[in-house]
């Protein structure tokens, strides 16, 4: 039952691989962002798991307690969660703008008549005139 002792780390690995696979394999941008979230969350669990000390109590000073769990990873991950939320927000905002500009957020459908030109063709124009295209 040695692997049960590493239960958290198995969860981390499985979540990480699911998330990473989704980022790579899915063409839908929302799904890509969801995969990215899963990927980041698995790293959060990795950090939090490392903070647990066997037999350690909550890191609040108390009489008669000698072993405390490590609170630092929690604080680090609080920062990383904020970063993750910000990344998701920027990603979703971009997805909204892409939908406005192209009418789709599927990678496969992004090849519309306008974009069937070579990739380095003319700019499609300033965005403040008659919109995109």
């Amino acid at each position: 039952m040695a692997w049960l002792g590493h239960f958290n780390y198995w969860v981390v690995m499985i979540l990480m691989m699911i998330g990473f696979y989704t980022v790579i394999a899915r063409g839908n941008m929302i799904k890509k962002i969801m995969g990215l979230n899963l990927f980041q969350t698995s790293v959060f669990i990795l950090f939090i798991s490392a903070g647990k000390i066997l037999g350690g109590s909550t890191p609040i000073y108390a009489e008669g307690v000698t072993v405390y769990s490590n609170p630092l990873p929690h604080v680090l991950i609080l920062t990383a969660i904020v970063v993750g939320v910000a990344t998701t927000a920027v990603g979703l905002a971009l997805a909204v703008r892409i939908r406005e500009a192209y009418g789709t957020i599927e990678d496969d459908e992004l090849i519309d008549p306008v974009d069937q030109r070579p990739d380095d063709a003319e700019p499609t124009g300033p965005r403040d005139t008659d919109g995109w295209v």
Binding site: M29, L46, L94, D120, E122
Partner: protein, 491 residues
């Protein structure tokens, strides 16, 4: 006050100026605040540099002594990179004002606030001595960069930005995993403390995995071949000002962080002997030099041409570093500095062309050399530096790279450097040929030369390319001091 107490302000001034900038109305005020913040950072980092050549400066935040609190630790290596980042911001912003008025007609306050955040983030990554702090500043600069790239003129800027966001976040998360592994094994996040504690636990799979995750994560950020896929589109479709700033700073800072981890934290013996990092980096560097130059030779969009050339130039830097000798690392740091000068000048000349012509396509620019001779001359002169013609900064980089390669006993690499330089001759020549030796296309409106207020900043940076090709005290001396600091030999 001592200079060590001033140094954190080079990060804090742009960081505090950013939200103020977002609230300022109009166009002139946000620009002025951004420029003043960049000048303040430049003044601080420039005044600190001579002192850093004597030894490192440490600043404990909140007066908590280093392993417990967050420390800024600045030595000759990150002092040089910080000087580069702030100098690029301070010299490009005066040029950028009319460019941005043209390309970003609305809400410039927010635009400059994002720029200041990216700038502060890059400086923060450079100056900090704390591994987790690197991740936080990396994300501050990256998130604002994604938004800045999305400001581009063409709607494909949005796709480029989204792809950059996905790849950049994966890279940053890899870095976070690596830092997590290091923390698990040592219980510290301070880089100097990590360097002391790692040797005890270095023969574990966790530490090896940590090094691998950190190198791959930062490889994505510095556009090391084959992790460069985000770069060409992000540079090509970003606003001209952002292309210039990113090309001159972002990949450089990521390279510095990789050097800091590989050399200072893990130690050169561990990174290059226990793991085959030297062989891996050298292979990828050579592949990048060839692939980047090859693709650049066939680009018709000049911004993409320069972006692919950047992939190749990152290859030169990493090639020097992969030798893991003092001379090799110095050559890498030297090219890091000089490449910022040449790509800065080239992107500025290109942005000036775009301001007049409204396109950076090669066929649209045919014959432009007769209509905008000063701008195209600036492009050609900076192109000479990119190729590495004597008396330019590019020549100094390649000269020291060749010396380092010879010293390491690998003379066959010189042939590869020469071949890729010839490829650079070809892609720079294509632009010159189109500009001067091809008749203008029939339908194009005649254009006038760009105004002096755009040309003067461009020529200042072009002149820097020649200045640092002749007077190499700052660049070569700084790069050698940086290499000593990174490798931990001498101050």
């Amino acid at each position: 006050m001592a200079i060590s107490e001033w140094l954190p302000f080079s990060v804090l001034v742009p960081l505090i100026a950013a939200p103020i900038c977002a609230l300022l109305p109009g166009r002139a005020l946000p620009w002025l605040l951004a420029w003043l913040a960049a000048l303040a950072s430049l003044a601080i980092t420039a005044s600190a540099l001579p002192q850093l050549w004597q030894g490192a400066i440490s600043y404990p935040f909140g007066n908590w002594p280093p392993p417990i609190g967050i420390e800024y630790r600045i030595d000759a290596a990150n002092g040089l990179v910080a000087l580069l980042v702030s100098a690029v911001a301070a010299f490009v912003l005066p040029w950028a004002r009319p460019i941005n008025d043209h390309e970003i007609p609305e809400r410039q306050g927010v635009f400059y606030a994002l720029f200041l955040l990216a700038f502060a983030g890059l400086l923060g990554i450079t100056l900090t001595g704390d591994a987790f702090n690197v991740f936080v500043f990396l994300e501050i600069s990256s998130l604002s960069t994604y938004a800045l790239v999305a400001h581009g003129w063409d709607r494909r800027a949005l796709l480029a930005s989204f792809r950059y966001l996905i790849m950049g976040t994966v890279g940053a998360t890899f870095l976070l995993i690596g830092i997590g592994f290091l923390y698990m094994m040592t219980g510290t996040l301070n880089m100097a403390d990590l360097a002391e504690r790692l040797p005890e636990v270095q023969d574990t799979r966790t530490v090896r995995a940590a090094l691998a995750f950190i190198v791959v994560g930062l490889g994505l950020k510095l556009a090391l071949f084959p992790l460069h896929l985000w770069l060409p589109n992000a540079y090509a479709y970003a606003p001209s000002f952002i292309s210039t700033f990113l090309a001159a700073t972002a990949t450089k800072v990521a390279l510095y962080v990789m050097l800091r981890f590989a050399f200072t934290v893990f130690g050169v013996e561990y990174s290059f002997d226990a793991l085959p990092l030297g062989a891996v980096l050298m292979t990828l560097a050579i592949a990048g030099m060839f692939a980047g130059s090859w693709v650049a030779m066939f680009q018709r969009n000049l911004k993409r041409l320069l972006a692919y050339s950047s992939v190749a130039q990152v290859g030169y830097m990493v090639l020097g570093v992969s030798l893991a000798t003092s001379a090799g690392v110095a050559a890498g740091m030297l090219h890091l500095f000089n490449h910022a000068l040449m790509k800065g000048a080239l992107f500025m000349a290109l942005g000036t062309l775009f301001w007049r012509v409204g396109s950076v396509r090669l066929d649209r620019l045919a014959g432009i050399g007769r209509e905008m001779p000063w701008t195209m001359t600036a492009f050609a002169l900076a192109g000479l530096s990119l190729i590495g013609v004597p008396l330019t900064a590019g020549f100094i980089s390649k000269w020291y790279l060749v010396l380092a390669v010879l010293e390491a006993g690998q003379p066959w690499l010189i042939a590869l450097i020469m071949i890729t330089s010839l490829m650079a001759v070809y892609y720079v020549w294509r632009v010159i040929e189109a500009a001067w030796f091809t008749p203008a296309p029939a339908g194009r409106e005649p254009v006038r030369e760009a105004p002096v207020r755009l040309l003067v900043p461009v020529y200042v940076v072009v002149a820097a390319n020649f200045w640092f090709g002749i007077d190499t005290r700052l660049t070569v001396g700084g790069a050698e001091a940086a290499a000593r600091a990174l490798l931990g030999v001498g101050p």
